[in-house]
Symmetry: none
Subunit: 522 residues, 2 copies
């Protein structure tokens, strides 16, 4: 079986994502997780560009990695310097990384307007820089930046840059589709022209600006590339790098190629969640293979067919990538979905049991009142467990009061006071917040934190408010949907009320109870 | 130039997204926007499946659409029924839609285990159903569900289903990659086998389960398909349908094909935002072409090169799709849009006037802080008028206080006290409400009612809340969008703040002021 090498650049290209900023400790955590998962190369950063990256290389050397080689990234020597004198190349060597990933220019336009040097000089820079690193005993991966744009504008020159790297002894040559502007057929066409001209194993590095990064990477592998570069969840500048998660699943399950073990593939969903958590990014619910909704069925026709024959509306078995099927409970579905849900939660429930009817009735009542559970499975699970008497309260509310005040100066403040009991021990506390929901959230957690320290690990990632009866204006009932997550999972909860604070309260309490219940199970 | 037809199914397939639930009025708004944008076909829903969809078809007939044909969606007749007796086909005709999109089974497995009928009977169902609709004068688009899976398992049978639809006179035959499990090379291979066997114009309908929906659609067009089906922003069940937004941009800018005008292409970003707002979905910042970050540059090397030569790290000019470059250190923005807006509002403004620069600066500041004016034109109009000194305050706020209290019994109450001045006359009053926003709304109107009796005629019809910075949890900044209407108009207003009450207050005040200003004009 042909083997494909996986090269992760989450810690360097992924860190260019708007909103992502990794600490050294974040980077170490992600690197170790990637190694555990079985990735072959982990690009740690650009040691020449900042001290944080240097520190990472220093610390990662102390960790024992099982599978992965750590790579340091940097550019070819500056035009006016010999390789030996170039500070950037020196810092690459100093990083102690086993592998150096060196990028150079393949697009003549960039050589002229960005490097501001001659085309020949650029070739010499590539040749000498790679040679120098090879002489120093490194494995060298050569990233040909803007290769595809370069090939389209001046194929001969673009090819020469690759030949220079090959001549100097580069161990891999990676064709980079840096601007992400190529459609799949163009990528294929260019690779077909390049491949016969080189002997070095070829890699592919794509970006998602046309929404085709995954297809471009997979097509490149079909054409003969044996090394792929990407980031977990497709993080990266602009529209992101190619999502390695989808690539891995496609390589294994669609092309049948060897890149990680089947067992590790079953950790794919977990890996994706873990990295999104450390990156402080919301996990995309519709992410291919690993999203919470990736195998979720809502349409009645689809649910009906899935019950008759699993796989009618699923392209793979979700468990192969550690995900699962979900049947969304919505106006579009009926009792079948409740039974399926119960099965998913391992609750014994059969079609004609009194419990089932009770839950169905309850669900219909709640939906009639405006609850919606398809995006609030946390609340739905609690609802079923309450109906089946498999749930006990974690606390009793004695009362709360929230005050929002705005003065003439324009200053606005929010304060929440809360009194509750846990096992008959009363807690009475208060907190300020950025707004009333935040104040209430803080006061609730503050009150519960001594009893349930695990709550520190969860956070709220989104809330949505929907007016249910438009004609009632501001007096209308509103539905609040809250999304929460911890290091393992994410879950949705719901509250409905004419008072937005009460609706938020219901969803907050469900979110906290779901977390506590979940932890008890684990 | 070859022409490609655009078929939107946001209102049907898109509505299957977890978390999306459109009201009839939402659907009407989206349909009109899609028409304005220049889409050729808009699938309104499945009239046989629920009364809400029927209502949509009734109401859309009253709107004058300029470009788009409205399509009703449904399945072939039930196995045991003749087409004439099938309730589903009847309701399709009754919808009054100009185009019927009929889906039938192409995968033998589905015929056997889901329809539970014979392969021959399924062919007759397709033939008779299409014939029946054609006889009734409809344009018929035939959606061959699971065509690619069917072709892989039993090519001859899958082809026969298409030939049945063709024989019956279908106007388009659409190859559906329903489960989203095909990689691009397989899609191409299958289309190459099918295309020479048919005379009917072929369409393509893909899903994103492998992360390749866009590439698969574009490859299908390159192979000869002339009709594409998808949803705005790729909404849809599981991992979503193909994103029409990316498809349109790729068709126009990468393949140079005719599907909408260049002018309309410049509204692509606006369209994407508008539909995400109505759908109450967060707009994906890294969405190809239209995301806020799609042309945002963070890496130092990239910014440096972009300054030397624009386009070094951008695959297209962002303005072609109505987007813009952003440098994450210093924000840049276009003043043309402000001038266009001013023209729309009949405010005299020219490019170099001091006012224009002032508004531009203000707008950039506000957008940077999270304001968004696409769905809040009321607020934008006020903003411009304030900047042009064409606005005077209708009242001065002295202060307000909102108290929400929940007791042990579960009872929850909200009260707002407000003090304000109109022409130096002080009004100090209070009101209870169903929630804090309602209490504040009532108190504000109560305080103003003596001075401005016209306020009794307006009402708030919707409000939306969005968390802007997810990492901050409940302390995050939120954006509140309020929709208001009176007997003549409806208008949107916006507020942004960490405190949901303050954000609501801003939007409420804008809403009231917009109404009063509007009345003065009339």
């Amino acid at each position: 079986m042909r083997k494909v090498e996986l090269y992760d650049t989450t810690l360097r290209d992924g860190a260019q994502t708007e909103g992502i900023s990794y600490s050294v400790s974040d980077k170490l955590k992600i690197a170790q997780k990637l190694d555990f998962f079985g990735l072959h190369y982990i690009e740690g950063g650009w040691p020449g560009s900042n001290p944080k990256d240097l520190e990472f290389f220093k610390q990662i050397r102390k960790k024992r990695l099982k599978y992965a080689k750590i790579c340091a990234f940097g550019s070819t020597a500056r035009p006016h310097l010999s390789a030996q004198k170039d500070a950037n190349l020196k810092s690459l060597l100093k990083s102690g990384a086993q592998v150096i990933t060196l990028f150079g220019k393949s697009w003549d336009l960039h050589v002229k307007v960005v490097l501001r040097t001659s085309l020949d000089q650029n070739l010499r820079m590539i040749l000498n820089s790679v040679k120098y690193l090879k002489k120093n005993g490194c494995m060298v991966i050569y990233d040909a930046e803007h290769f595809f744009d370069g090939a389209r504008h001046n194929f001969d020159y673009a090819l020469k840059t690759l030949l220079a790297a090959e001549e100097a002894g580069a161990d891999r040559i990676v064709l980079c589709e840096t601007n992400g502007g190529m459609i799949t057929s163009s990528v294929v066409q260019i690779i077909r022209k390049v491949l016969p001209r080189l002997n070095t194993p070829l890699g592919i590095h794509t970006h998602n600006d046309c929404g085709m990064a995954v297809a471009n990477t997979i097509a490149a592998v079909e054409e003969g590339c044996t090394h792929i570069q990407g980031t977990i969840n497709g993080y990266g500048e602009r529209c992101g790098n190619v999502d390695l998660i989808a690539c891995i699943a496609n390589l294994k399950l669609k092309l049948g190629l060897n890149c990680i073990s089947d067992n590790k593939l079953q950790k794919l969903t977990e890996l994706s969640h873990y990295v999104s958590e450390i990156s402080n990014m919301r996990h995309k619910s519709n992410q291919p293979f690993v999203g919470e909704s990736a195998f979720a069925h809502k349409g009645g026709v689809h649910i009906n067919a899935m019950v008759k024959y699993p796989g009618t509306y699923e392209h793979i078995q979700p468990k192969l990538v550690g995900n699962k099927s979900r049947f969304l409970v919505s106006e579009l579905s009926g009792r079948t979905s409740i039974l399926l849900k119960a099965k998913e939660l391992e609750l014994a429930l059969d079609k004609d049991a009194l419990h089932t009817k009770k839950i169905l009735k309850l669900l219909q009542d709640l939906e009639h009142r405006g609850y919606q559970f398809e995006a609030a499975e946390g609340s739905f699970e609690l609802l079923m467990k309450k109906a089946l008497k498999k749930h006990k309260k974690f606390f009793d509310l004695e009362g709360f009061r929230v005050i929002i005040e705005k003065t003439k100066s324009g200053k606005i403040t929010s304060e929440a006071a809360i009194k509750l009991k846990v096992n008959k021990i009363e807690e009475h506390t208060a907190a300020e917040g950025e707004g009333p929901v935040n104040a209430l959230d803080r006061a609730l957690r503050k009150a519960l934190s001594e009893f349930y320290p695990a709550l520190a690990k969860m956070r709220l990632t989104d809330f949505k408010v929907r007016v249910l009866d438009e004609r009632a204006g501001t007096a209308a009932k509103v539905r609040v949907l809250i999304q929460s997550q911890d290091e393992q999972d994410s879950w949705g909860t719901v509250g409905v009320h004419e008072n937005i604070i009460e609706a938020s309260w219901q969803a907050l309490v469900d979110s906290v109870e779901y977390k506590l219940l979940k932890d008890k199970k684990e």
